[in-house]
C-alpha cells in the first residue's frame, strides 16, 4: 500500500481527459451535423420548456428549504421541550420518507383529506408544480434544519454571552452573531443540497410536471409513435449531460468550500 506519487496520476488524468475529448468532440460534432430533422424542435422543447420548469422549481424549492430549514434548525437550539419534539419529528418524518411518497402524499392524499378526517374543509387539488415544490421544500428544509442545528450548536457559548452583553435580543443575537459564524460550516452542505434539489426535481415528473426529464420522455414517446423507432437512449443521455453540466461545477464548489471553510 505504498502511495504512488501524485504526479503520475495527474499526468494520467490529463492524458485520459484529452483522449476522451479528442474522441468525443469530433464524434459529437459529426452526430450534430448529421442530426435528424426531429432533433431541433425536440431540443428546443427540452431546453426552453423543460429546463426552465426544472430550474424554476429548483430555485423556489431551494429558497423555501433554506428559509424554513434555517429557522427550524435555529429554533431547535432553544431549550424548550415542546418545540424541540415538534422540530425533531418534522426532521425525522420528512428526511425519512422517500421524496416520491412525500410528493404523492401532497398531490394525491392531501386533497382527499376531507373525505377521511371529518371537519377538514375541502381543499381543491394542488397543481402538480405546486405539489412537487411543496414536497421538495418539506424534504429540503428537514435536511437544512438538521445541518443548521449542528452548525449553530457548534458555536461556543461565549459568543452568545458576548452578544447578549452587547444588548442583542435573541433574534438579533442569532441573525447578526451566531448564524454568520455558523454559515462557514453550513455553506458546503447547502451547496450539496442545492445539487440534490436540482436532481430531485425530476421526481416531480411522476405526477406530471413538465421538467426536463419528463419533457424528454414525452418527446421520445411521441417520436416512437410518429417515426416507429425509439430515440430514448439519445434523449436520456442528453438530459443526463444537461444535469451533469449544471451539477458538476456545484459539487466541485461544495468540495472546495468544505476544504477552505472548515
Amino acid at each position: 500500500m505504498i502511495r504512488r506519487p501524485r504526479d503520475l496520476n495527474h499526468v494520467i488524468s490529463v492524458v485520459m481527459l484529452l483522449a476522451l475529448l479528442a474522441v468525443g468532440i469530433p464524434w459529437l460534432w459529426h452526430k450534430y451535423q448529421s442530426r435528424p430533422p426531429w432533433w431541433d424542435p425536440v431540443q428546443h422543447q427540452i431546453i426552453h420548456v423543460g429546463l426552465k420548469e426544472t430550474l424554476r422549481m429548483a430555485a423556489i424549492s431551494g429558497i423555501g428549504a433554506a428559509v424554513i430549514g434555517l429557522t427550524l434548525g435555529t429554533l431547535f437550539t432553544i431549550r424548550f421541550r415542546p418545540t424541540r419534539i415538534l422540530i425533531r419529528a418534522y426532521i425525522e418524518l420528512w428526511r425519512g420518507l422517500p421524496i416520491v411518497v412525500t410528493i404523492f402524499l401532497i398531490y394525491f392524499a392531501f386533497p382527499r383529506l376531507d373525505e377521511t378526517i371529518p371537519y377538514v374543509p375541502n381543499i381543491s387539488s394542488l397543481a402538480a408544480f405546486q405539489a412537487a415544490t411543496v414536497g421538495l421544500i418539506l424534504w429540503g428544509s428537514a435536511q437544512v434544519a438538521e445541518a443548521t442545528r449542528g452548525a449553530v450548536q457548534s458555536i461556543r457559548k461565549e459568543q452568545h454571552e458576548a452578544a447578549a452583553a452587547l444588548g442583542f435580543g435573541w433574534v438579533g443575537r442569532h441573525v447578526y452573531v451566531i448564524l454568520p459564524q455558523a454559515a462557514r460550516r453550513l455553506l458546503p452542505p447547502m451547496v450539496g443540497l442545492l445539487v440534490n434539489i436540482i436532481q430531485n426535481t425530476t421526481i416531480a415528473g411522476l405526477i406530471g410536471t413538465g421538467d426536463v426529464l419528463e419533457v424528454a420522455n414525452r418527446s421520445s414517446e411521441r417520436l416512437l409513435f410518429l417515426t416507429g423507432s425509439s430515440h430514448a437512449l439519445a434523449l436520456i443521455l442528453y438530459v443526463m449531460a444537461i444535469f451533469f453540466v449544471i451539477s458538476f461545477p456545484l459539487t466541485r464548489l461544495a468540495a472546495y468550500l468544505e476544504k477552505r471553510l472548515t
Partner: protein, 226 residues
C-alpha cells in the same frame, strides 16, 4: 367522534396480500442493492485510496457521473435506453431496479470507503508491510478493518437512501411498495390510507436499517473505545 372516524382501516387489511408482496419486493431490491453497493464501494474505494493508475481515474469518472445526474434518469437509461443497444440488455423491472440502486449506491459508497481508507494512518499500513504481509494482505487485515469501521456511519446514510430510492421504480411500473399502493388506490380511491401505510412502512424500514447499522457499529467498536 374520533378524529380518524372515516380512516378506512379495512382497506389496508383487505389489501394485505398485495401490500406485503410490495414490501417484500422493496426489501429484496434494497437488500441486493445494499450488498452490491458494499462490494462496489470497498473495491473502488480501495482503488481510489491507493491511487491505482488508470483504474482510479475510471472510478472517479463513474462516481462523478452517478453523483451529478438524477437517479431517475439513470433508471430510465437502463430500462428504456439500454435495450436499444442490444437485445441482451433488455432487463425486467426487477433486474433494472436492483441494478439501478446498486450502481447508484456503489458510487456513493466508493466515496464513503475512500474517505475511510484514507483516514487509516499511513504508519499502520507501513507496519503491516514491515511484518511481511503482502500489499493485498495488508489491505484486508489492516486497512479494511480499520477504514471500514471509520466509513460505517456514512455508509448507513447511503444504505437508507438506497432503500428509499427503490420507491422510484414506480416510474418503470415495477410493483414495489409505492407502485403497489398506487395500483390499489387507482381502483378504490383510498389514497390517504394507502399512502399513510406506505409512508409508515418506509419510516420503519429506514429506522430498521439505521438501527441495525448502529448495532453493528457498537459490536465492531474496539473495547477501549466503547
Amino acid at each position: 367522534m374520533s378524529l380518524l372516524a372515516s380512516f378506512d382501516w379495512a382497506t389496508i387489511w383487505d389489501n394485505r396480500r398485495l401490500l406485503s408482496d410490495g414490501v417484500w419486493r422493496t426489501i429484496q431490491v434494497s437488500a441486493i442493492g445494499i450488498v452490491g453497493a458494499t462490494v462496489i464501494g470497498i473495491a473502488l474505494g480501495a482503488v481510489r485510496a491507493n491511487r491505482i493508475p488508470v483504474l482510479t481515474q475510471l472510478a472517479a469518472a463513474y462516481v462523478e457521473v452517478i453523483r451529478n445526474t438524477p437517479i431517475l434518469a439513470q433508471i430510465y437509461l437502463i430500462f428504456y435506453g439500454l435495450p436499444l443497444l442490444s437485445q441482451h440488455l433488455a432487463f425486467t423491472g426487477f433486474t433494472t431496479a436492483w441494478l439501478a440502486v446498486t450502481i447508484w449506491g456503489g458510487a456513493f459508497n466508493t466515496e464513503n470507503f475512500r474517505a475511510g481508507f484514507e483516514a487509516v494512518p499511513f504508519r499502520f499500513r507501513e507496519a503491516g508491510l514491515a511484518l511481511g504481509f503482502s500489499r493485498l494482505a495488508t489491505f484486508f487485515r489492516v486497512t479494511l478493518p480499520l477504514g471500514g469501521r471509520i466509513a460505517l456511519p456514512s455508509t448507513t446514510n447511503t444504505y437508507v437512501s438506497v432503500m428509499k430510492n427503490t420507491s422510484l421504480m414506480t416510474a418503470i411500473g415495477f410493483q414495489e411498495l409505492t407502485g403497489t399502493s398506487r395500483s390499489i388506490s387507482a381502483s378504490n380511491f383510498r389514497d390517504v390510507e394507502m399512502l399513510t401505510t406506505v409512508g409508515v412502512t418506509y419510516l420503519v424500514l429506514a429506522w430498521s436499517i439505521s438501527g441495525g447499522m448502529r448495532l453493528l457499529e457498537r459490536r465492531l467498536s474496539f473495547e477501549d473505545a466503547r
